[in-house]
């Protein structure tokens, strides 16, 4: 697990590593139960998550001799046993059927044993598809219950990369996985006494979690290590993800794309060949990154140069050493120093690259200014957006801006709506007729239909949730993650524990897209003395973002927990991590170019 987060004595929940250990054990059990040399076939989406669970050499020890990626190309191998790991998605069944048929017909000399492990569960529909393709009998079908994977001490993901896409098509399959994964956490860390939810899907997930307690009981005598859970439906706040993230980690995601905590960088950043791309793990194994990730990009430069001075000072202190004892101390510090030094070099390269890309580029500035203009002053950015289209800026950027304006300024007038749509089709291709229809369907980019129809009212929320803060630097407000805008989702969490949600119905919730919110409590069997023991510690709240969370929001939650008089630590769980780009891309559909 070279890049996976080290979870020994994890920061917020000490034995968080247990959940990863269990998944790893299950994987090993699966591999051990299938005798002989074997090959593994992964669906691409699962490649990194599984890498975070087990290192390749531990697979090798279990006679895994080769790893293949699942697509439409046939797998040519002499190995007689193949294990497929796939999400239960219809498209994947097509690929699998193709392989099984290939092994059956073209490769007769090599009769293969095939196992299909559905992750995390098999579904009727996939079995049916395999049956229809006439290959169901050709493989043994089983399940591998891979659910929440820790990306860090405080970030867990289900890795359901298509869950937003499914949300668009009205398929809520992922909700069951959301609830059952939290139920599993309860098995390790005790019954969570307080369940809150906001948004329709949040409610369904919360109710399902309650039901699971009865349906598959767990040991309720464990003192809860998680005190609250909040299910947040992404649909509640579609504004935040389309805005450009301005934290260090968020900007890295915007510029290079982070996948399951890995980012691909130029080899030169890591002191290697410039031609190659290298994967680098961004998590709190890297101490420097842990300090940097939540900072607003404006603070990163000064912080880094200070840090650089400190490190080189420490490093140079060797020249002043006199006593043997001092040498010993220095030598003891050396590995840490070297590590810090290495990571410092990488982050300096990244920061330099980001600054180069943004500083001289007026358009990046313009983009940020326009976003803030829309958010703060409700400006109409039609001209700017039009200009972006003329310059053929990436479609995701254009659509993000359009969505932002549509959401904040209560949609477009019919005429400009049609103009924009036409221009997008003309410039970026007719296939985006589906993209536009999808964005319209979920209310991100649409024409105004009069006041009554649209519930979501950003301007009301802006006031009641105090979303805009001009002096975030001084107040250390969470709005620093977007240089002055605080995410709706995180403000909702903040409200939940400061003033409580009661009484916010008229000022906040009625202006959210579906207005659904609520709370359940679960009583456990613990005695009062055990209860009081718990309350002395800092409480832990699990914030579960259904259908995606951005790095900026995670950072905002971290900042929130560091604020004075805030006695909660947050752990973020999510179906998957998103960015504005990936969110927009979820609306794309396969079609001829």
């Amino acid at each position: 697990m070279s890049g996976a987060i080290n979870l020994e004595n994890s920061r917020i929940i000490k034995d968080l590593g247990l959940i990863r250990d269990e998944i790893q054990q299950e994987l090993f059990r699966i591999l051990d139960s299938i005798e002989g040399p074997k090959g593994i076939v992964f669906e691409n989406e699962l490649m990194i998550p599984l890498g975070l669970i087990a290192e390749f050499h531990s697979l090798k020890e279990r006679l895994v001799q080769n790893v293949f990626s699942l697509n439409s190309d046939p797998i040519r191998t002499k190995l007689k046993t193949l294990i497929f790991f796939v999400r239960p998605k219809m498209k994947m069944m097509d690929h699998i059927a193709k392989h099984l048929r290939f092994h059956d017909t073209e490769d007769k000399s090599q009769k293969k044993r095939c196992f299909i492990y559905f992750v995390p569960r098999k579904t009727f529909i996939c079995e049916k598809l395999l049956e229809q393709a006439g290959v169901k009998g050709a493989a043994v079908i089983r399940e591998f219950n891979l659910d929440l994977i820790p990306l860090d001490h405080d970030v867990l993901t289900l890795g359901l990369e298509t869950s937003f896409k499914e949300f668009i098509s009205g398929d809520t399959s992922s909700l069951y996985y959301v609830s059952s994964s939290v139920h599993k956490l309860q098995r390790f860390f005790g019954l969570i006494p307080d369940i809150k939810y906001v948004g329709k899907n949040g409610k369904i997930a919360g109710e399902m979690l309650l039901r699971m307690r009865r349906e598959s009981p767990i040991d309720e005598n464990i003192a809860p290590k998680i005190n609250h859970v909040i299910f947040i439906d992404r649909n509640v706040d579609l504004v935040t993800p389309v805005i450009t993230q301005l934290t260090y980690e968020g900007l890295i995601d915007e510029m290079y794309t982070i996948k399951h905590s890995y980012v691909e960088l130029d080899g030169s950043f890591l002191g290697k060949d410039n031609q190659t791309k290298e994967k680098y793990a961004l998590n709190s194994n890297d101490i420097l990154f842990e300090e940097l990730r939540d900072l607003n990009m404006g603070e990163v430069g000064p912080f880094l140069s200070q840090k650089a001075k400190k490190i080189s000072q420490d490093y140079n202190s060797r020249h002043d050493l006199q006593e043997l004892q001092e040498y010993k101390v220095f030598i003891g510090k050396l590995p840490t120093l070297q590590k810090e030094h290495f990571s410092l070099k990488i982050h300096l390269s990244i920061v330099e690259d980001i600054l180069n890309k943004t500083k001289d580029d007026d358009q990046f500035r313009d983009k940020i200014d326009t976003e803030m203009g829309i958010l703060i002053n409700n400006i109409q950015a039609n001209d700017t957006i039009q200009n972006m289209i003329y310059r053929e800026k990436p479609l995701e950027d254009v659509l993000r801006m359009l969505c932002l304006q549509s959401l904040v300024n209560n949609d477009f007038k019919s005429k400009s709506f049609d103009n924009f749509r036409r221009e997008i089709l003309e410039t970026y291709g007719f296939q985006h007729i589906f993209t536009l229809a999808n964005l319209e369907k979920i209310g991100m980019f649409k024409k105004s239909e009069g006041r009554s129809k649209t519930r979501f009212n950003f301007n009301q929320l802006k006031k009641s949730l105090n979303l805009i803060s001009e002096n975030f630097e001084e107040t250390k407000d969470i709005s620093s993650v977007f240089s002055g805008y605080a995410p709706i989702t995180v403000r909702l969490v903040q409200k939940a524990f400061s003033s409580g949600w009661q009484g916010l119905e008229d000022s906040v919730f009625r202006y959210l897209s579906d207005g659904v919110f609520g709370q359940f409590s679960q009583e456990n069997d613990l005695s009062n003395s055990e209860q009081s023991m718990i309350s002395e510690k800092r409480n832990v709240c699990l914030v579960f973002f259904i259908n995606g969370v951005t790095f900026a929001e995670i950072s905002a939650l971290r900042l929130l927990s560091q604020m004075q008089d805030h006695s909660l630590d947050y752990i973020v769980a999510t179906t998957h991590i998103i960015s504005g780009k990936s969110l927009i891309e979820s609306a794309y559909e396969n079609f001829d170019k």
Partner: protein, 908 residues
């Protein structure tokens, strides 16, 4: 001193015992039957031996298979009148009776003779005939009459197992004997097959290959019988010359060569645990035991017997009794061997004496205790009690342990109590009424869960329940099986329900849906309904409501459960049923979630699109329906459409092609009735005179030809494939029409524009060079400009209502990229709506700084003009402007840039 050791037989320093388990008064003439007994004291299945002459009065028995306990109690009968001849019988690991018959079927029955399920041998056996089938405990080996060998390793339940055909060289003569080795003992982890060949060699065959091994047969000698020891480590081969040879099971080491007087192959030969061999010759009524060093001893039986292998010995079934022959377990020899001086033996004797009032006992126990051996001796007595069958001896041994343990300061009393409980359980099970003569080692192998399972198979619910209670085990499984039996009785519904509720209650974790499922399969629907009310897992109610055809409830519960998987279950139930499609869709479209899920499924394949359109229509989703038409104009669906219509052509001509076409299309072929649906839709959707669908039908034939010619049709290209191109246009026309029907003029126009641009692109591909199809409108204009045809570009600009500013951007970008700078200059002479900054930018981007300069002068804003000059490195010009405009900021910018530019110019 007990005399039990006098009943033991000594062979090569090992003690063996022949215990009578039960006297049998079952009036069965074993000569007329074949018999198969299950492991772990399992039941005995008897079927008529059809090779024997049938006396008139027994001929009626021919039609049945009987199942007896080892105590000779008849517990099951299977009617065999209509069935085919039995080839092989065997008991599986989970206590089912498997019977292979001549027609290639393998049937499974419960121990009480109830049919469980059936599968068939591979087709080859039907075609070529069955030479043999041998059932193993969880698989089988079988050979066709043309000597093709098959094996399987997994008797799942209700799924036909996967058969491996093992590669064999051609053989002319059938094997003399064969043996199947369970996968757990085989190196390959697949069933291994040994065949005795007529040349004396043994063929060892598994999934990895075929190998012949020399086993030291002399001339004209060959193997006629083989047996593997119960631990899988040793193998015994008997030759036609009466020779017994023992090897390790890899044939690596040779152990024993024993020459018997027999002239015939033994009727039965097996291992008695792992160190001696039992061999039975029916013709001479001889049962011989051969020990590890070649000594032998004979056991006497009258009439025919059957040997049933057990892991720790063998049961011997004769007409009058059931015996068990085994090695005497070591705790028993330790105590009861004549002359034994072990501590346990001394302890046992002392306490027996105490009971006959001798006072020395205290002294003896203390002396053992002083040597520190007392605890061990006590444990030995407890162990011996567990291994002993006779309750009186068990009692004596336990009493010894119980008495002696009071001398110890520390003793694990719980484990003593547990052992006692187990012994009591085993005694109960061995009684005549239950008739399962399980030994302690067998119990260890089977496990308590396995044992409970066996009892439930025997319908001994009460006993199983009390065992669970006394061992503090979960009783769910027992109660569930009990409830199932209760439901099968003829009692009144209310009584059954009440009985179940009384026993199981509400707080139990037992799933009521499973109980309800039993009621349903017994045809008691109203009972099932009532039971289902007590199920608290919502999702589990769904399948049962479906079986009861209560769609409303099923769908409601599925939605409530939040598990989309169960919603799909309901959906499939509906759409795969024979009910009218409209009715099914009415149910499904009631809830957005179920509708969305069906849409996602149906969208994936063209074969379902006709039905999907009906769903859209029912749900009034005109916009979605039109978008689907657009989607159908993509390569992916055009290909699918062609494949499906090709299949329909084929299958109409030749119904046998359906299988093949399934393999190609991988989705169900379009059902016949959907063609009516499509006309229905077209009638609803299209009133237009020129129905584009007609053209499509005309085209479909050509397309079929095309599909067959190409290996991978997904590689086709609209530019070269006119047919597909036309088809795409037609499909788009339908989409446009569909949008028009729903009065969406914007979308109609967009689709129409797409059709127009595609046609123009087709034309450009012949007018200019390169590929146009697939480009966006903007890109098309760009490419036309690149081809220096500004006039044509102008036309496009007007036709597709491109904004003027955008058009300018496209043109200057294209010209700069193609380095048509003179044209760019000419173009700039018109009044630019976007200013001249973009001109500079495009030139610089295309590495033409000199050309860029010409346009900087045209920038009206002095500040910007100055900046651009500076950026182009023309600092003197820039400074001139700065001075002229007195712009401080500009001056600073210029000097900053100038100082920076030492070394790298033009980098911006």
């Amino acid at each position: 001193m007990s005399l039990i050791s006098t009943e033991w037989t000594i062979l090569s320093n090992h003690f063996y015992r022949q215990q009578e388990l039960y006297k049998l008064d079952w009036d069965v003439k074993l000569e007329d039957y074949i018999l198969s007994g299950g492991q772990y004291g399992g039941a005995l299945a008897l079927a008529r031996d059809e090779t024997q002459f049938v006396k008139a009065q027994t001929s009626m028995l021919k039609s049945k298979v009987f199942i007896y306990t080892s105590a000779g109690k008849l517990i099951g009968q299977i009617d065999w009148m209509e069935k085919s001849r039995i080839l092989s019988m065997g008991w599986t690991d989970n206590g089912r009776l498997a019977i292979a018959t001549e027609d290639g079927a393998v049937d499974f029955y419960s121990v009480l003779g109830k049919h469980v399920w059936t599968f068939n041998l591979p087709k080859a056996f039907m075609e070529e005939g069955i030479l043999f089938v041998d059932l193993l405990s969880n698989g089988l080996i079988a050979m066709t009459k043309t000597f093709r060998l098959f094996a399987t390793n997994e008797f799942g339940e209700l799924t036909t197992p996967l058969f491996n055909e093992y590669k064999m060289p051609k053989i002319r003569q059938g094997p003399k004997c064969r043996m199947g080795i369970e996968a757990k003992f085989a190196n390959s982890r697949n069933v291994e097959v040994w065949l005795g060949l007529s040349d004396g060699n043994i063929a060892v065959i598994d999934s990895n290959g075929y190998e012949e091994r020399d086993v030291g047969m002399t001339e004209r000698e060959h193997v006629v019988k083989m047996a593997l020891s119960s631990n899988g480590k040793m193998v015994c081969l008997v030759s036609n010359k009466g020779r017994f040879v023992v090897y390790t099971s890899d044939l690596g080491n040779f152990y024993l060569d024993f020459q018997s007087h027999a002239t015939r192959a033994p009727t039965q030969m097996l291992w008695c645990s792992s160190d001696s061999i039992l061999s039975y010759w029916q013709n001479v009524d001889l049962l011989l035991m051969i020990g590890p060093t070649g000594e032998s001893v004979q056991f006497d039986y009258d009439g025919k017997i059957y040997l049933v292998p057990e892991p720790d010995g063998a049961r011997v079934v004769s007409a009058t009794k059931c015996d068990f022959i085994s090695v005497v377990p070591s705790p028993l020899t330790d105590i009861f061997k004549i002359g034994s001086a072990s501590d346990a033996s001394i302890l046992f004797d002392a306490i027996q004496n105490f009971e006959t009032k001798s006072a020395k006992v205290d002294e003896i126990i203390r002396s053992i205790s002083q040597r520190g051996k007392l605890s061990e001796a006590i444990k030995m007595c407890i162990k011996a009690a567990a291994h002993e069958f006779r309750p009186d001896l068990q009692r004596k041994l336990l009493r010894t342990a119980c008495f002696a343990k009071s001398y110890l300061d520390f003793f694990d009393h719980d484990s003593y109590a547990d052992k006692c409980k187990i012994i009591r359980v085993l005694n109960n099970i061995r009684t005549y009424t239950i008739g399962i003569p399980i030994t302690y080692p067998q119990y260890k192998l089977l496990g308590i869960e396995g044992l409970i399972e066996r009892l439930l198979d025997h319908n001994q619910h009460l006993l199983a329940f009390s065992i669970c209670k006394s061992l503090k085990m979960n009783t769910d499984q027992v109660l569930l099986r009990w409830a199932a039996e209760k439901i099968r009785t003829n009692e009144q519904k209310d009584k059954i329900l009440q009985a179940i509720l009384d026993k199981i209650g509400m707080e139990s974790s037992i799933s009521y849906s499973r109980i309800a499922a039993v009621a349903l399969s017994e045809g008691k629907e109203s009972l099932a309904m009532e039971l289902l009310n007590y199920e608290f897992k919502v999702a589990h109610q769904v399948p049962l409501f479906l079986r009861m055809n209560n769609i409303d409830f099923a769908l409601q519960k599925a939605i409530q459960s939040g598990q989309t998987d169960f919603i799909y279950l309901v959906i499939f139930h509906l759409i795969d049923s024979r009910r009218p499609i409209n009715e099914s869709l009415m149910y499904i479209s009631k809830f957005p979630l179920s509708r969305n899920l069906l849409v996602a499924y149906w969208k994936s394949s063209y074969a379902f699109h006709d039905k999907l359109k009906i769903l859209y229509q029912i749900s009034r989703l005109d916009h979605e329906a039109s978008l689907l038409c657009v989607l159908e104009s993509s390569k992916h669906f055009l290909i699918q459409e062609c494949r499906i219509s090709a299949q329909n052509e084929n299958s109409a001509e030749n119904p046998e092609n359906i299988d093949n076409s399934l393999a190609i299309g991988n989705m169900k072929t379009r059902p016949r009735h959907t063609s009516d649906l499509s006309t229905q839709i077209s009638n609803n959707l299209l009133d237009s005179k020129n129905d584009p669908r007609e053209d499509i039908k005309k085209n479909s034939l050509d397309l079929n030809g095309f599909i067959e010619d190409q290996n991978d049709p997904s590689e086709f290209n609209y530019s070269t494939n006119e047919t597909f191109f036309q088809k795409k246009l037609q499909t788009l026309r339908i989409a446009a029409l569909s949008f028009q029907q729903s009065h969406d003029s914007f979308m109609t126009k967009m689709v129409q524009d797409n059709i127009d641009i595609l046609q123009l692109q087709k034309k450009y591909e012949s007018d200019y060079r390169g590929q146009f199809i697939g480009l966006t409108i903007t890109q098309t204009i760009d490419k036309v400009v690149t081809n220096k045809d500004l006039k044509e570009a102008e036309k496009l600009y007007k036709k597709f209502v491109v904004p003027q500013k955008k058009f300018w951007w496209i043109v200057i970008r294209a010209l700069a990229r193609a380095r048509h700078f003179s044209l760019l200059l000419e173009f700039s002479k018109k009044k630019s709506p976007i200013g001249y900054e973009p001109f500079v930018q495009v030139c610089v981007q295309n590495f033409a700084p000199q050309e860029a300069e010409q346009f900087v002068d045209k920038i009206s804003d002095l500040y910007l003009r100055g900046r651009y000059f500076a950026r182009l490195g023309r600092f003197e010009k820039a400074r001139e402007i700065a001075a002229q405009s007195k712009n401080q900021e500009l001056s600073e910018f210029i000097s900053e840039l100038e100082s920076k530019s030492q070394g790298n110019d033009g980098d911006w």
